[in-house]
Symmetry: C2
Subunit: 286 residues, 2 copies
Amino acid sequence: MKTYLDCIPCFMKQALRAGRISGMDESGVKQLLDEVGCMIRDLPLESTPPVTGDLIYGKIRQMTGVNDPYNEIKKETIREALELYPELKNIVRKSDNRMLTAAKIAIAGNVIDLGVGNDFNITRDVHAILNQEFAILHFEEFLESLNKAESVLYLGDNAGESVFDKLLIEELGKPVTYVVRDIPVINDVTMEDAIDSGLDTVAEIISSGSSAPAIIPGLCSDEFLDRFESAEMIISKGQGNYEGLSNVERPIFVLLKAKCQVIANDLGVDTGDIILATPRELNRHQ
Amino acid sequence: MKTYLDCIPCFMKQALRAGRISGMDESGVKQLLDEVGCMIRDLPLESTPPVTGDLIYGKIRQMTGVNDPYNEIKKETIREALELYPELKNIVRKSDNRMLTAAKIAIAGNVIDLGVGNDFNITRDVHAILNQEFAILHFEEFLESLNKAESVLYLGDNAGESVFDKLLIEELGKPVTYVVRDIPVINDVTMEDAIDSGLDTVAEIISSGSSAPAIIPGLCSDEFLDRFESAEMIISKGQGNYEGLSNVERPIFVLLKAKCQVIANDLGVDTGDIILATPRELNRHQ
Protein backbone atom coordinates (compact mmCIF):
# COMPACT_ATOMS: atom_id res chain seq x y z
CA MET A 1 0.00 0.00 0.00
CA LYS A 2 1.34 3.41 -0.90
CA THR A 3 1.71 6.18 1.67
CA TYR A 4 -1.32 8.46 1.57
CA LEU A 5 -0.99 12.16 2.37
CA ASP A 6 -3.21 11.44 5.37
CA CYS A 7 -0.37 9.34 6.79
CA ILE A 8 1.92 12.38 7.10
CA PRO A 9 0.24 14.06 10.11
CA CYS A 10 0.10 10.57 11.66
CA PHE A 11 3.89 10.20 11.26
CA MET A 12 4.28 13.43 13.21
CA LYS A 13 1.95 12.11 15.90
CA GLN A 14 3.92 8.86 16.12
CA ALA A 15 7.21 10.74 16.40
CA LEU A 16 5.72 12.86 19.19
CA ARG A 17 4.53 9.82 21.12
CA ALA A 18 7.68 7.78 20.58
CA GLY A 19 9.90 10.70 21.58
CA ARG A 20 8.01 11.11 24.83
CA ILE A 21 8.00 7.37 25.58
CA SER A 22 11.77 7.35 24.92
CA GLY A 23 12.13 9.75 27.82
CA MET A 24 13.09 12.82 25.77
CA ASP A 25 12.27 16.13 27.43
CA GLU A 26 9.92 18.52 25.61
CA SER A 27 12.76 20.43 23.97
CA GLY A 28 14.26 17.15 22.76
CA VAL A 29 10.89 16.08 21.36
CA LYS A 30 10.60 19.46 19.61
CA GLN A 31 13.99 18.86 17.96
CA LEU A 32 12.78 15.42 16.90
CA LEU A 33 9.63 16.93 15.34
CA ASP A 34 11.83 19.53 13.59
CA GLU A 35 13.87 16.71 12.05
CA VAL A 36 10.86 14.57 11.12
CA GLY A 37 9.10 17.65 9.69
CA CYS A 38 12.03 18.23 7.35
CA MET A 39 12.12 14.53 6.40
CA ILE A 40 8.66 14.86 4.82
CA ARG A 41 10.22 16.55 1.80
CA ASP A 42 12.23 13.41 1.04
CA LEU A 43 9.36 10.95 1.52
CA PRO A 44 8.39 9.26 -1.70
CA LEU A 45 4.65 8.54 -1.50
CA GLU A 46 5.25 5.39 -3.54
CA SER A 47 6.89 3.88 -0.46
CA THR A 48 4.67 2.05 1.97
CA PRO A 49 3.96 3.70 5.35
CA PRO A 50 6.19 1.28 7.32
CA VAL A 51 9.18 2.14 5.11
CA THR A 52 8.70 5.70 6.32
CA GLY A 53 8.10 4.40 9.83
CA ASP A 54 11.47 2.65 9.62
CA LEU A 55 13.19 5.96 8.80
CA ILE A 56 11.37 7.83 11.57
CA TYR A 57 11.94 5.26 14.31
CA GLY A 58 15.56 4.99 13.15
CA LYS A 59 15.89 8.77 13.63
CA ILE A 60 14.36 8.45 17.11
CA ARG A 61 16.83 5.70 18.06
CA GLN A 62 19.67 7.85 16.77
CA MET A 63 18.54 11.00 18.61
CA THR A 64 17.65 9.34 21.91
CA GLY A 65 20.21 6.55 22.05
CA VAL A 66 17.33 4.43 23.38
CA ASN A 67 16.98 1.23 21.37
CA ASP A 68 13.83 -0.16 22.93
CA PRO A 69 11.71 2.57 24.54
CA TYR A 70 8.64 0.32 24.55
CA ASN A 71 10.43 -2.54 26.37
CA GLU A 72 8.61 -2.23 29.69
CA ILE A 73 5.24 -1.63 28.07
CA LYS A 74 5.77 -4.74 25.93
CA LYS A 75 6.60 -6.87 28.97
CA GLU A 76 3.48 -5.60 30.71
CA THR A 77 1.16 -6.33 27.79
CA ILE A 78 2.63 -9.83 27.37
CA ARG A 79 2.03 -10.45 31.07
CA GLU A 80 -1.56 -9.22 30.78
CA ALA A 81 -2.18 -11.35 27.70
CA LEU A 82 -0.72 -14.44 29.38
CA GLU A 83 -3.13 -13.94 32.26
CA LEU A 84 -6.02 -13.95 29.80
CA TYR A 85 -4.72 -17.00 27.94
CA PRO A 86 -6.44 -19.77 30.02
CA GLU A 87 -9.84 -18.06 29.77
CA LEU A 88 -9.46 -17.54 26.03
CA LYS A 89 -8.25 -21.11 25.52
CA ASN A 90 -11.42 -22.23 27.24
CA ILE A 91 -13.55 -20.08 24.93
CA VAL A 92 -11.85 -21.69 21.92
CA ARG A 93 -12.37 -25.19 23.35
CA LYS A 94 -16.10 -24.63 23.89
CA SER A 95 -16.63 -22.93 20.55
CA ASP A 96 -18.64 -24.47 17.69
CA ASN A 97 -16.01 -23.25 15.27
CA ARG A 98 -12.68 -23.40 17.05
CA MET A 99 -10.63 -22.13 14.10
CA LEU A 100 -12.82 -19.08 13.49
CA THR A 101 -12.94 -18.24 17.20
CA ALA A 102 -9.17 -18.57 17.51
CA ALA A 103 -8.75 -16.33 14.44
CA LYS A 104 -11.02 -13.72 16.03
CA ILE A 105 -9.00 -13.84 19.25
CA ALA A 106 -5.75 -13.46 17.27
CA ILE A 107 -7.27 -10.37 15.63
CA ALA A 108 -8.47 -9.08 18.99
CA GLY A 109 -4.84 -9.13 20.13
CA ASN A 110 -4.15 -6.71 17.29
CA VAL A 111 -5.65 -3.85 19.36
CA ILE A 112 -2.33 -3.84 21.27
CA ASP A 113 -0.76 -1.33 18.91
CA LEU A 114 1.22 1.60 20.23
CA GLY A 115 1.94 2.93 16.74
CA VAL A 116 -1.61 3.91 15.86
CA GLY A 117 -2.04 5.26 19.38
CA ASN A 118 -5.65 4.35 20.03
CA ASP A 119 -6.51 3.54 23.60
CA PHE A 120 -6.98 -0.13 24.24
CA ASN A 121 -8.04 -2.38 27.08
CA ILE A 122 -7.13 -5.95 26.25
CA THR A 123 -9.79 -7.65 28.37
CA ARG A 124 -12.61 -5.39 27.24
CA ASP A 125 -11.56 -5.35 23.58
CA VAL A 126 -11.10 -9.10 23.19
CA HIS A 127 -14.60 -9.77 24.47
CA ALA A 128 -16.06 -7.08 22.21
CA ILE A 129 -14.38 -8.57 19.15
CA LEU A 130 -15.62 -12.06 20.00
CA ASN A 131 -19.13 -10.67 19.51
CA GLN A 132 -18.24 -8.74 16.35
CA GLU A 133 -18.98 -9.97 12.82
CA PHE A 134 -16.21 -9.95 10.20
CA ALA A 135 -16.52 -7.17 7.60
CA ILE A 136 -14.61 -9.37 5.15
CA LEU A 137 -14.26 -13.10 5.74
CA HIS A 138 -12.58 -15.41 3.23
CA PHE A 139 -12.82 -18.33 5.59
CA GLU A 140 -13.45 -21.12 3.07
CA GLU A 141 -10.36 -20.03 1.11
CA PHE A 142 -8.45 -19.92 4.41
CA LEU A 143 -9.43 -23.49 5.32
CA GLU A 144 -8.77 -24.72 1.79
CA SER A 145 -5.33 -23.15 1.72
CA LEU A 146 -4.53 -24.52 5.18
CA ASN A 147 -5.69 -27.95 4.15
CA LYS A 148 -3.32 -28.02 1.16
CA ALA A 149 -0.33 -26.43 2.87
CA GLU A 150 2.32 -28.56 4.56
CA SER A 151 3.33 -25.68 6.77
CA VAL A 152 2.39 -22.08 7.54
CA LEU A 153 4.49 -18.91 7.66
CA TYR A 154 2.96 -16.65 10.32
CA LEU A 155 3.99 -12.97 10.26
CA GLY A 156 3.75 -11.57 13.79
CA ASP A 157 2.88 -7.96 14.56
CA ASN A 158 2.85 -6.66 18.13
CA ALA A 159 4.19 -7.97 21.43
CA GLY A 160 1.27 -9.16 23.58
CA GLU A 161 -0.76 -9.86 20.46
CA SER A 162 1.80 -12.66 20.11
CA VAL A 163 0.14 -14.53 23.01
CA PHE A 164 -3.16 -14.43 21.12
CA ASP A 165 -1.36 -15.67 18.00
CA LYS A 166 -0.35 -18.75 19.99
CA LEU A 167 -4.02 -19.68 20.39
CA LEU A 168 -4.55 -19.59 16.62
CA ILE A 169 -1.31 -21.44 15.90
CA GLU A 170 -2.45 -24.22 18.25
CA GLU A 171 -5.56 -24.67 16.10
CA LEU A 172 -3.79 -24.67 12.72
CA GLY A 173 -2.57 -28.25 13.10
CA LYS A 174 0.41 -27.64 10.80
CA PRO A 175 4.06 -26.80 11.47
CA VAL A 176 4.29 -23.02 11.85
CA THR A 177 7.18 -20.62 11.44
CA TYR A 178 6.57 -17.38 13.37
CA VAL A 179 8.32 -14.26 12.02
CA VAL A 180 9.47 -11.46 14.31
CA ARG A 181 11.15 -8.05 13.77
CA ASP A 182 14.94 -8.13 13.75
CA ILE A 183 15.34 -5.37 16.35
CA PRO A 184 12.85 -3.56 18.62
CA VAL A 185 10.65 -1.05 16.79
CA ILE A 186 7.55 0.48 18.42
CA ASN A 187 5.92 -2.37 20.37
CA ASP A 188 6.40 -4.88 17.55
CA VAL A 189 7.19 -8.45 18.51
CA THR A 190 10.87 -9.47 18.66
CA MET A 191 12.50 -12.85 19.25
CA GLU A 192 12.64 -12.21 22.99
CA ASP A 193 8.97 -11.15 23.12
CA ALA A 194 7.90 -14.21 21.11
CA ILE A 195 9.72 -16.50 23.54
CA ASP A 196 8.21 -14.63 26.51
CA SER A 197 4.80 -15.24 24.89
CA GLY A 198 5.44 -19.00 24.79
CA LEU A 199 5.57 -19.17 21.01
CA ASP A 200 8.77 -21.24 21.05
CA THR A 201 6.69 -24.17 22.31
CA VAL A 202 4.37 -24.14 19.27
CA ALA A 203 6.43 -22.67 16.41
CA GLU A 204 9.87 -22.13 14.99
CA ILE A 205 10.68 -18.44 15.43
CA ILE A 206 12.71 -16.57 12.82
CA SER A 207 13.61 -12.92 12.21
CA SER A 208 12.53 -10.92 9.17
CA GLY A 209 16.03 -9.48 9.12
CA SER A 210 14.59 -5.98 9.06
CA SER A 211 14.07 -3.16 11.54
CA ALA A 212 10.93 -1.93 9.74
CA PRO A 213 7.65 -2.20 11.70
CA ALA A 214 6.28 -4.50 8.98
CA ILE A 215 7.33 -7.07 6.43
CA ILE A 216 8.75 -5.08 3.51
CA PRO A 217 10.25 -7.73 1.22
CA GLY A 218 12.89 -5.31 -0.16
CA LEU A 219 14.23 -4.70 3.36
CA CYS A 220 14.22 -8.32 4.63
CA SER A 221 17.11 -10.80 4.82
CA ASP A 222 17.71 -13.37 2.07
CA GLU A 223 17.14 -16.10 4.64
CA PHE A 224 13.65 -14.77 5.38
CA LEU A 225 12.90 -14.15 1.70
CA ASP A 226 13.69 -17.80 0.85
CA ARG A 227 11.07 -18.87 3.38
CA PHE A 228 8.63 -16.21 2.21
CA GLU A 229 8.95 -17.11 -1.49
CA SER A 230 8.48 -20.82 -0.88
CA ALA A 231 5.71 -20.61 1.75
CA GLU A 232 2.51 -22.42 0.80
CA MET A 233 0.37 -20.32 3.14
CA ILE A 234 1.16 -17.02 4.82
CA ILE A 235 -0.81 -15.52 7.70
CA SER A 236 -0.11 -11.80 7.98
CA LYS A 237 -1.13 -10.02 11.15
CA GLY A 238 -1.96 -6.34 11.46
CA GLN A 239 -1.92 -3.08 9.55
CA GLY A 240 1.83 -2.70 9.09
CA ASN A 241 2.27 -6.09 7.45
CA TYR A 242 -0.78 -5.40 5.26
CA GLU A 243 0.68 -2.04 4.19
CA GLY A 244 3.93 -3.76 3.25
CA LEU A 245 2.39 -6.75 1.47
CA SER A 246 -0.95 -5.64 -0.02
CA ASN A 247 0.48 -5.69 -3.55
CA VAL A 248 2.67 -8.77 -3.18
CA GLU A 249 1.54 -11.87 -5.09
CA ARG A 250 1.79 -14.61 -2.51
CA PRO A 251 -0.81 -16.91 -0.82
CA ILE A 252 -1.38 -14.41 1.98
CA PHE A 253 -4.25 -14.19 4.46
CA VAL A 254 -4.54 -10.86 6.24
CA LEU A 255 -5.92 -10.85 9.79
CA LEU A 256 -6.44 -7.38 11.16
CA LYS A 257 -8.62 -4.81 12.81
CA ALA A 258 -8.83 -1.60 10.74
CA LYS A 259 -7.57 0.94 13.24
CA CYS A 260 -7.19 4.00 11.02
CA GLN A 261 -9.25 5.63 8.29
CA VAL A 262 -6.53 5.24 5.66
CA ILE A 263 -6.39 1.45 6.02
CA ALA A 264 -10.17 1.22 6.28
CA ASN A 265 -10.55 3.17 3.01
CA ASP A 266 -7.89 1.09 1.30
CA LEU A 267 -9.76 -2.09 2.28
CA GLY A 268 -13.23 -0.67 1.61
CA VAL A 269 -14.36 -1.21 5.22
CA ASP A 270 -15.09 1.03 8.24
CA THR A 271 -12.70 1.92 11.05
CA GLY A 272 -13.05 -0.72 13.78
CA ASP A 273 -13.97 -3.49 11.34
CA ILE A 274 -12.20 -6.85 11.55
CA ILE A 275 -11.18 -8.85 8.50
CA LEU A 276 -9.76 -12.22 7.58
CA ALA A 277 -9.05 -11.80 3.89
CA THR A 278 -6.78 -12.82 1.10
CA PRO A 279 -5.69 -9.78 -0.93
CA ARG A 280 -6.08 -11.88 -4.11
CA GLU A 281 -9.81 -12.13 -3.41
CA LEU A 282 -9.97 -8.48 -2.41
CA ASN A 283 -8.46 -7.43 -5.73
CA ARG A 284 -10.86 -9.67 -7.61
CA HIS A 285 -13.87 -8.14 -5.87
CA GLN A 286 -12.85 -4.51 -6.05
CA MET B 1 -1.96 29.86 25.55
CA LYS B 2 1.39 28.55 24.32
CA THR B 3 1.67 26.07 21.46
CA TYR B 4 1.91 22.53 22.82
CA LEU B 5 3.93 19.89 20.96
CA ASP B 6 0.61 18.09 20.46
CA CYS B 7 -0.46 21.01 18.25
CA ILE B 8 2.24 20.23 15.67
CA PRO B 9 0.69 17.07 14.13
CA CYS B 10 -2.60 19.00 14.15
CA PHE B 11 -1.02 21.83 12.11
CA MET B 12 -0.01 19.22 9.51
CA LYS B 13 -3.57 17.89 9.48
CA GLN B 14 -4.98 21.38 9.03
CA ALA B 15 -2.58 22.07 6.16
CA LEU B 16 -3.62 18.79 4.51
CA ARG B 17 -7.32 19.61 4.80
CA ALA B 18 -6.97 23.24 3.75
CA GLY B 19 -4.80 22.31 0.77
CA ARG B 20 -7.42 19.85 -0.45
CA ILE B 21 -10.30 22.26 0.11
CA SER B 22 -8.33 24.91 -1.84
CA GLY B 23 -8.50 22.59 -4.84
CA MET B 24 -4.79 21.63 -4.88
CA ASP B 25 -4.07 18.28 -6.50
CA GLU B 26 -2.35 15.63 -4.38
CA SER B 27 1.14 16.57 -5.59
CA GLY B 28 0.43 20.22 -4.74
CA VAL B 29 -0.78 19.23 -1.28
CA LYS B 30 2.40 17.15 -0.84
CA GLN B 31 4.48 20.25 -1.66
CA LEU B 32 2.43 22.21 0.86
CA LEU B 33 3.10 19.57 3.55
CA ASP B 34 6.81 19.66 2.64
CA GLU B 35 6.83 23.41 3.24
CA VAL B 36 4.80 23.26 6.44
CA GLY B 37 6.95 20.36 7.69
CA CYS B 38 10.06 22.53 7.32
CA MET B 39 8.33 25.48 9.00
CA ILE B 40 8.10 23.48 12.24
CA ARG B 41 11.78 24.17 12.89
CA ASP B 42 11.08 27.91 13.05
CA LEU B 43 8.00 27.68 15.26
CA PRO B 44 8.58 29.20 18.66
CA LEU B 45 6.44 27.24 21.12
CA GLU B 46 5.96 30.44 23.11
CA SER B 47 3.70 31.67 20.32
CA THR B 48 0.03 30.81 20.57
CA PRO B 49 -1.37 28.19 18.14
CA PRO B 50 -3.28 30.75 16.02
CA VAL B 51 -0.06 32.73 15.40
CA THR B 52 1.28 29.55 13.81
CA GLY B 53 -2.08 29.05 12.09
CA ASP B 54 -1.68 32.52 10.58
CA LEU B 55 1.70 31.52 9.10
CA ILE B 56 0.37 28.22 7.75
CA TYR B 57 -2.81 29.61 6.21
CA GLY B 58 -0.72 32.47 4.77
CA LYS B 59 1.53 29.87 3.13
CA ILE B 60 -1.55 28.08 1.73
CA ARG B 61 -2.90 31.35 0.28
CA GLN B 62 0.50 32.03 -1.27
CA MET B 63 0.88 28.54 -2.76
CA THR B 64 -2.68 28.16 -4.07
CA GLY B 65 -3.50 31.76 -5.00
CA VAL B 66 -6.92 31.00 -3.46
CA ASN B 67 -7.84 33.63 -0.88
CA ASP B 68 -11.05 32.12 0.46
CA PRO B 69 -11.18 28.35 -0.11
CA TYR B 70 -13.91 27.95 2.50
CA ASN B 71 -16.19 30.58 0.89
CA GLU B 72 -18.89 28.21 -0.39
CA ILE B 73 -18.85 26.10 2.77
CA LYS B 74 -19.26 29.26 4.85
CA LYS B 75 -22.25 30.43 2.76
CA GLU B 76 -23.85 26.99 3.15
CA THR B 77 -23.39 26.88 6.95
CA ILE B 78 -24.77 30.43 7.31
CA ARG B 79 -27.80 29.39 5.24
CA GLU B 80 -28.31 26.27 7.41
CA ALA B 81 -27.96 28.31 10.60
CA LEU B 82 -30.43 30.95 9.37
CA GLU B 83 -32.97 28.18 8.72
CA LEU B 84 -32.60 27.05 12.34
CA TYR B 85 -32.83 30.60 13.70
CA PRO B 86 -36.67 30.85 14.14
CA GLU B 87 -36.83 27.52 16.01
CA LEU B 88 -33.92 28.50 18.27
CA LYS B 89 -35.40 31.96 18.88
CA ASN B 90 -38.55 30.19 20.03
CA ILE B 91 -36.56 27.99 22.41
CA VAL B 92 -34.96 31.11 23.92
CA ARG B 93 -38.37 32.83 24.26
CA LYS B 94 -39.89 29.87 26.10
CA SER B 95 -36.86 29.31 28.32
CA ASP B 96 -36.87 29.97 32.09
CA ASN B 97 -33.43 31.50 31.77
CA ARG B 98 -33.28 33.23 28.40
CA MET B 99 -29.72 34.52 28.80
CA LEU B 100 -28.26 31.13 29.74
CA THR B 101 -30.15 29.36 26.97
CA ALA B 102 -28.99 31.94 24.42
CA ALA B 103 -25.41 31.52 25.67
CA LYS B 104 -25.69 27.74 25.24
CA ILE B 105 -26.99 28.19 21.71
CA ALA B 106 -24.14 30.58 20.91
CA ILE B 107 -21.70 27.90 22.15
CA ALA B 108 -23.53 25.22 20.18
CA GLY B 109 -22.78 27.25 17.04
CA ASN B 110 -19.11 26.84 17.92
CA VAL B 111 -19.21 23.24 16.59
CA ILE B 112 -19.06 24.79 13.08
CA ASP B 113 -15.26 24.73 13.01
CA LEU B 114 -13.40 23.54 9.94
CA GLY B 115 -9.99 24.08 11.57
CA VAL B 116 -10.29 21.35 14.19
CA GLY B 117 -11.84 19.09 11.60
CA ASN B 118 -14.35 17.23 13.73
CA ASP B 119 -17.52 16.18 11.98
CA PHE B 120 -20.50 18.29 12.90
CA ASN B 121 -24.21 18.36 12.20
CA ILE B 122 -25.60 21.72 13.26
CA THR B 123 -29.17 20.60 13.96
CA ARG B 124 -28.15 17.51 15.93
CA ASP B 125 -25.35 19.23 17.82
CA VAL B 126 -27.32 22.30 18.89
CA HIS B 127 -30.04 20.14 20.42
CA ALA B 128 -27.46 17.96 22.18
CA ILE B 129 -25.75 21.00 23.70
CA LEU B 130 -29.09 22.44 24.90
CA ASN B 131 -29.32 19.34 27.10
CA GLN B 132 -25.68 19.48 28.22
CA GLU B 133 -24.52 20.92 31.56
CA PHE B 134 -21.69 23.46 31.62
CA ALA B 135 -18.34 22.05 32.84
CA ILE B 136 -17.39 25.57 33.99
CA LEU B 137 -20.04 28.26 34.44
CA HIS B 138 -19.23 31.72 35.81
CA PHE B 139 -22.73 32.93 35.14
CA GLU B 140 -23.15 35.23 38.14
CA GLU B 141 -19.93 37.03 37.22
CA PHE B 142 -21.16 37.21 33.63
CA LEU B 143 -24.47 38.84 34.65
CA GLU B 144 -22.74 41.17 37.08
CA SER B 145 -20.23 42.30 34.45
CA LEU B 146 -23.01 42.76 31.89
CA ASN B 147 -25.06 44.75 34.36
CA LYS B 148 -22.20 47.19 34.99
CA ALA B 149 -21.02 47.50 31.38
CA GLU B 150 -22.37 50.20 29.10
CA SER B 151 -21.50 48.16 26.05
CA VAL B 152 -20.06 44.78 25.07
CA LEU B 153 -17.23 43.86 22.70
CA TYR B 154 -18.12 40.49 21.15
CA LEU B 155 -15.25 38.57 19.47
CA GLY B 156 -16.73 36.36 16.72
CA ASP B 157 -15.25 33.04 15.70
CA ASN B 158 -16.72 31.05 12.81
CA ALA B 159 -19.12 31.86 9.98
CA GLY B 160 -22.47 30.19 10.68
CA GLU B 161 -21.76 30.31 14.40
CA SER B 162 -22.30 34.04 13.81
CA VAL B 163 -26.05 33.43 13.37
CA PHE B 164 -26.15 31.81 16.81
CA ASP B 165 -24.19 34.76 18.20
CA LYS B 166 -27.04 37.00 17.03
CA LEU B 167 -29.42 35.17 19.38
CA LEU B 168 -27.18 35.88 22.37
CA ILE B 169 -26.57 39.49 21.33
CA GLU B 170 -30.33 40.04 21.20
CA GLU B 171 -30.53 38.98 24.87
CA LEU B 172 -27.63 41.13 26.12
CA GLY B 173 -29.68 44.33 26.09
CA LYS B 174 -26.57 46.49 25.63
CA PRO B 175 -24.94 48.03 22.57
CA VAL B 176 -22.66 45.41 21.06
CA THR B 177 -19.64 45.68 18.79
CA TYR B 178 -19.03 42.44 16.88
CA VAL B 179 -15.43 41.75 15.82
CA VAL B 180 -14.62 39.83 12.64
CA ARG B 181 -11.37 38.66 10.96
CA ASP B 182 -9.84 41.16 8.56
CA ILE B 183 -9.55 38.69 5.66
CA PRO B 184 -10.88 35.14 5.13
CA VAL B 185 -9.00 32.48 7.12
CA ILE B 186 -10.34 28.93 7.50
CA ASN B 187 -14.10 29.33 7.99
CA ASP B 188 -13.73 32.23 10.41
CA VAL B 189 -16.32 34.99 10.26
CA THR B 190 -15.53 38.03 8.09
CA MET B 191 -17.41 41.31 7.60
CA GLU B 192 -19.35 39.84 4.66
CA ASP B 193 -20.26 36.68 6.63
CA ALA B 194 -21.40 38.75 9.62
CA ILE B 195 -23.68 40.84 7.40
CA ASP B 196 -25.02 37.66 5.72
CA SER B 197 -25.78 36.39 9.23
CA GLY B 198 -27.88 39.47 9.98
CA LEU B 199 -25.51 40.80 12.64
CA ASP B 200 -25.55 44.30 11.13
CA THR B 201 -29.12 44.67 12.43
CA VAL B 202 -28.10 44.05 16.07
CA ALA B 203 -24.47 45.20 16.36
CA GLU B 204 -21.79 47.44 15.00
CA ILE B 205 -19.34 45.22 13.08
CA ILE B 206 -15.61 45.98 13.08
CA SER B 207 -12.49 44.16 11.89
CA SER B 208 -9.70 42.92 14.16
CA GLY B 209 -7.28 44.19 11.53
CA SER B 210 -5.57 40.81 11.48
CA SER B 211 -5.56 37.74 9.24
CA ALA B 212 -4.92 35.38 12.17
CA PRO B 213 -7.71 32.88 12.99
CA ALA B 214 -8.01 34.43 16.47
CA ILE B 215 -7.61 37.69 18.34
CA ILE B 216 -3.86 38.04 18.91
CA PRO B 217 -3.48 41.56 20.34
CA GLY B 218 0.04 41.95 18.90
CA LEU B 219 -1.26 41.34 15.37
CA CYS B 220 -4.39 43.53 15.54
CA SER B 221 -4.93 47.07 14.27
CA ASP B 222 -4.57 50.09 16.57
CA GLU B 223 -8.21 50.89 15.88
CA PHE B 224 -9.27 47.51 17.24
CA LEU B 225 -6.83 47.68 20.15
CA ASP B 226 -8.33 51.01 21.28
CA ARG B 227 -11.73 49.33 21.50
CA PHE B 228 -10.27 46.23 23.13
CA GLU B 229 -8.35 48.15 25.80
CA SER B 230 -11.34 50.30 26.75
CA ALA B 231 -14.02 47.59 26.61
CA GLU B 232 -15.93 47.10 29.86
CA MET B 233 -16.96 43.55 28.97
CA ILE B 234 -15.57 41.23 26.31
CA ILE B 235 -17.27 38.05 25.11
CA SER B 236 -14.75 35.78 23.38
CA LYS B 237 -16.08 32.93 21.28
CA GLY B 238 -14.23 29.71 20.52
CA GLN B 239 -10.89 27.99 20.92
CA GLY B 240 -8.78 30.27 18.71
CA ASN B 241 -9.74 33.43 20.58
CA TYR B 242 -9.15 31.62 23.89
CA GLU B 243 -5.70 30.51 22.73
CA GLY B 244 -4.84 34.09 21.82
CA LEU B 245 -6.29 35.73 24.94
CA SER B 246 -5.99 33.25 27.81
CA ASN B 247 -3.17 35.25 29.41
CA VAL B 248 -4.49 38.73 28.63
CA GLU B 249 -5.72 40.74 31.62
CA ARG B 250 -9.07 42.07 30.40
CA PRO B 251 -12.71 41.54 31.55
CA ILE B 252 -13.12 38.58 29.20
CA PHE B 253 -15.77 35.85 29.23
CA VAL B 254 -14.87 32.80 27.18
CA LEU B 255 -17.71 30.84 25.56
CA LEU B 256 -16.56 27.65 23.88
CA LYS B 257 -16.87 23.95 23.41
CA ALA B 258 -13.56 22.13 24.08
CA LYS B 259 -13.01 20.41 20.76
CA CYS B 260 -9.46 19.14 21.19
CA GLN B 261 -7.51 17.47 23.97
CA VAL B 262 -4.94 20.26 24.22
CA ILE B 263 -7.55 22.94 24.97
CA ALA B 264 -9.45 20.58 27.28
CA ASN B 265 -6.24 19.93 29.28
CA ASP B 266 -5.38 23.61 29.38
CA LEU B 267 -8.84 24.37 30.81
CA GLY B 268 -8.93 21.32 33.09
CA VAL B 269 -12.07 19.91 31.42
CA ASP B 270 -12.88 16.99 29.09
CA THR B 271 -13.12 17.08 25.31
CA GLY B 272 -16.72 17.89 24.36
CA ASP B 273 -17.31 20.00 27.49
CA ILE B 274 -18.87 23.45 27.19
CA ILE B 275 -17.79 26.42 29.27
CA LEU B 276 -18.77 29.99 29.99
CA ALA B 277 -15.84 31.24 32.01
CA THR B 278 -13.77 34.25 32.87
CA PRO B 279 -10.05 33.39 32.73
CA ARG B 280 -9.54 35.56 35.84
CA GLU B 281 -11.71 33.14 37.82
CA LEU B 282 -10.04 30.14 36.15
CA ASN B 283 -6.60 31.34 37.23
CA ARG B 284 -7.81 31.99 40.76
CA HIS B 285 -9.16 28.44 41.05
CA GLN B 286 -6.25 26.59 39.46
